[in-house]
Amino acid sequence: MFQIIRNAPVYDVVIVGSGAGGGTATKVLTDLGISVCLLEAGPMLNPAHDFKEHMWPYQVPHRGVGDDASGYFGRSPYGFGYFSATFGNWELEGEPYTTAPGNQFRWFRSRIVGGRTNHYGRISLRLADYDFKSYTRDGVGTDWPIGYDDISPYYDKAESFIGVTGSKEGIRSAPDGIFQKCPPPRVHEVLVQKACQKLGIPCIPSRLAIITQETNGRPPCHYCAQCGRGCISSSNYSASQVQVFPALKSGKLQLITNAMARELISDDEGKVKAVSYVDKTTRTEKQVRCRAVVLAASACESARLLLNSKSSRHSNGLANSSGQVGRNLTDSVGYDLSAHIPALENLMRHNSDGMGGMHVYVPWWLWDKKLDFPRGYHIEIGGGFGMPQVGTTSSTCENHEGYGKDLKNAIYRDFGTRVGLSGRGEMIPNEHTYAEIDPNVVDEWGIPVLRFHFQWTDAELKQVDHMEQTFTAILETMGGKILGSHHPERHSGQKISIGGMIIHEVGTVRMGDDPAKAPLNKYSQAHDVKNLFVADGGPFVSNPDKNPTLTITALSWRMSEYLAEEMRKGNV
């Protein structure tokens, strides 16, 4: 049912999506006095009520495995566990997506104010200077239309505002930024550092969007390691708490929740004049009018919105004269390996919680070496005495077997002995990997859904082989015994993550100087539609081995300042 309110207000900017990109655009634009209407497909977030920070597992009868024990059978409805602040999952009821035959892809969506920033890993890595010009270096992929110097000031602004830990290291693959002090390494992290030192691999303090000093009125981290559950004291970055909630007090922001964007409405000149959305609570169709629109619904969701915005003028979808919307989709290459470390057996008990994430990590260190695959990866480190949860003792039960006092002693001995390494590497865009509109399927709102095509290539598979060799070397140098899924004889296609599972999907609305090859210009503004901007992972030209959130934030900041200036000049 259509409901058009004739004398509805015209907002300067409508932003679709309230995650890292939309949250940043909201903050920057409202700070500059621009009126913003923010559409979020999910409900409002109430951190004090919704976050399960500091809950013990025994506070729920099912201990976190789910009332129907589905966690024991690999079908958990919680994505990252009952206690996580994901507010979403790999599948959302009523909002399906499809994959082309023979392809695998998994798409994580969080419908909530703040989106996936409520639970994400907070890893905050700058792209390196060479990451923007990789094609020039190795002839693969495409160069960005911007360089490190264009984005560097915006990394500065983003880091200063949201707060990021780290240390000055002078490593080219991991440019230094504006850092707060990172807490010291945990015991297992000291071992990883020592092993890396022996192997000539750098292992440096973590760069996490967690504050260790008071920042803009937010109190510092209290070291409970539960960032993934959401932080009631806002001591880590989430777009909801750090950007959207403060902007609500500016008088410049209208937030509309449960608003599922369906289509962008263009005027006769080809500019966007309104965003049409489904009000999920009443199941009615509404429109909100604007002078400009910023898509920040996530790389794939923004591409979907553009592809679904068809008109006689834009038969291919809006801003898609290049035919590249939905194309160039990538995720990070993922590979994990863990080991039992005998040196940590019966370690004296202490509180090793710390920040919600590793305190040290391995940046890519072979950027100037010739390898049998292009680009590189970084290594994330897991371990320590985490809060016991369902599964904590499984490995001891399985390996030690037995029962009674003897089993209890083994469980005590093994607690905190597991160290895991996770590789996150660069995938090169390929022609077989993209998202398109499924011609046959709509979601419960009647909106055509995405159909994914996803294929890894030799470049990624060889990288995973390299990860496996490296991780094995590090863990064995620590005296570790490799656990679980270690099968060197397996083909690398069986070791690599399923596409989408690292939740770093980017590239579907990429930027570029040539309108025939890229939907957006170097300011993330559509070549075809001057008042249309994209501020999520869509504009990425490549997907380097740096988790995308910090770069989404910096690019959104840069885009927002540009948009504000263009509006001031009357160009938008």
Binding site: P57, A69, V187, R349, H350, G386, V390, E401
Partner: protein
């Protein structure tokens, strides 16, 4: 160490103190209230089995306690019954597994598992607690069942307050400064030969 109901509130109070601007909001207070209520539900009152009959539940309790001493206090039988009542795969595993144990004890000791002597009960566990005995005629079913029983019992116990205390987890609390005991670092370095 924070593993009682009271301590949890202390944790949240500590957090509230950390929240510089004005302490807890009304919504925060409501949250704490709900948490405490949930705790009572989770820990209070005598549990009435939802799936198992009296004999099955008594057998399960004995099995849990033998598997992980203290498991009954840690709520393992409730945990297993609750989950099995909502999950047919688990229900079949446990009702079938408990029946298998009675059957096997009848064959060996002419009594149910519960009615068997303590040393007979442990003699059976000595067999089914190890995969290496799987070649023995008929033990495969018991071994598979015990694998699940052990896993769920350990999960329940080590996510309970007494289990968390026993394993020595000392976190889930607010601290102003994160520190690592040097003694622990030296212990690990020495044993890893990386020092």
């Amino acid at each position: 160490m924070f593993n009682s109901e009271l301590s949890r509130r202390e944790v949240l109070r500590a957090i509230a103190l950390t929240v510089a601007a004005g302490g807890l909001t009304t919504a925060d207070a409501q949250h704490v209230h709900e948490m405490a209520a949930a705790e009572k539900v989770a820990s209070g009152g005598a549990y009435k089995p939802k799936l198992f009959n009296d004999h099955q539940y008594a057998t399960l309790k004995q099995l849990c306690e033998l598997t992980i001493p203290g498991a009954n206090e840690g709520g393992a039988p409730e945990f297993i019954d609750l989950l099995s009542s909502h999950n047919t795969e688990l229900a079949v595993l446990f009702t079938g597994g408990l029946a298998w144990m009675d059957d096997e004890c009848q064959r060996r000791y002419q009594a149910t598992f519960l009615a068997s002597k303590p040393e007979e009960q442990t003699a059976l566990l000595d067999l089914i607690a190890y995969r290496r005995n799987a070649h023995q005629e008929g033990l495969g079913h018991g071994i598979r069942f015990f694998d699940w029983a052990r896993r769920l019992t350990a999960d329940a116990y080590y996510t309970s307050a007494p289990g968390i205390k026993e394993i020595g987890y000392q976190g889930n609390t607010a601290v102003a400064k994160f520190e690592v005991p040097q003694e622990a670092v030296e212990y690990a370095l020495r044993r890893s030969h990386l020092g």
